[in-house]
Subunit: 203 residues, 2 copies
């Protein structure tokens, strides 16, 4: 007889901790057990600190009223930052994308988070994204350039095209994040779509 | 400029969550970010449940007064279980070992957790382990067989030998968990120590 899901491990509190840890992405039964034991064996203060941070984050992180990214307050630090360039607005799918672009540190304009991409097959239409809010945003506060930084999947491309049509009359110019060969990419291992795009967009 | 540890990511609450998640074993900066985003994007109730389970476990899981494994109450469910065989006592290093043996489901006796192994170089001597308690335990409640299931490292072997000497006068017999070739093991890839042990202990 081997371990079956649902069997008790050690104690009720331990079993529940293991079960709840499995909500984390990439964490299965064995990893969850290892995490629980690691915390219980001499990392209890850190475990309590994690519990508190989780609780605060789950209840306290809200959506920024301006850019719809994650925020502790009504308006996020990036929207409040006076050193940011108001004339450029970068449209991304999720708050994770904001974080990725911020970490590359090559951008000093503002952001706008759509909350996903158009995907009619999954039932995600224009009404489910913050597209109306985006149009209102560029109507109320004019921007010179709107950068479409949605992903380069079919859905991301469709979303970019849709938004481009919706805002074209209200902004100076609409640009699309560059597609091409990633840094360190070897030509022979790249897919032909990327390669043909990279050749077309040569500069 | 790329991301440096200590930089802010999105918001204070988010950054703190990412920082605290890194206490989990095998979780680095990127994985912690992914976990935090995963919970914030539509898994908030589960995140709150995890926070609660963590908090309860960190404060509520104590050491069983009898076997020194993890327990929710003064005495753990295994020590309380009347169907367990009182005549056999299995001595292990940690509560994780109890869990591993329980999951193999081949053992129905009692357990005793030492709390580690002897390691003079790391300053862990007999006084730092529950060895006195073990001797008192077998003096108070006689057992027919004491199984030494410490690990098969040098420290584990030394610990087993030390305990064997300490309890020999008080128990019927002292046995050592079998050493040999693991299930599915291929001879050519095994280390020579295991192989020579397996040959010596042939049955």
């Amino acid at each position: 007889m081997v371990y079956k899901e649902g069997d008790g491990l050690l104690t009720e509190k331990f079993d529940n901790l293991v079960k709840q840890l499995r909500v984390l992405p990439g964490v299965g039964q064995k990893t969850a057990q290892r995490m629980a034991l690691h915390l219980l064996n001499g990392k209890r203060p850190q475990g309590s600190a994690l519990a508190q941070a989780l609780d605060i984050a789950m209840h306290g992180i809200i959506e920024c009223q301006q850019c719809h990214s994650f925020s502790d307050d009504e308006v996020c630090p990036i929207c409040l930052d006076p050193r940011r360039d108001d004339s450029v607005l970068c449209v991304v799918e999720t708050a994770a994308d904001v974080m990725a672009i911020e970490q590359s540190a090559g951008y000093r304009g503002r952001y706008f988070v759509l909350g996903g991409h158009l995907s009619p097959l999954d039932g995600i239409n224009a009404d489910d994204l913050n597209i109306d809010q985006l149009v209102n945003r560029v109507k109320a506060t004019p921007v010179e350039e709107l950068i479409l930084a949605t992903s380069t999947t079919v859905e991301g491309q469709t979303t970019a095209h849709f938004i481009s049509e919706a805002v074209r009359r209200h902004v100076g110019k609409v640009t699309r994040i560059a597609q091409g060969i990633p840094m360190g990419g070897e030509l022979e291992y790249l897919d032909s779509m990327t390669l043909s795009q990279a050749l077309q967009n040569r500069s």
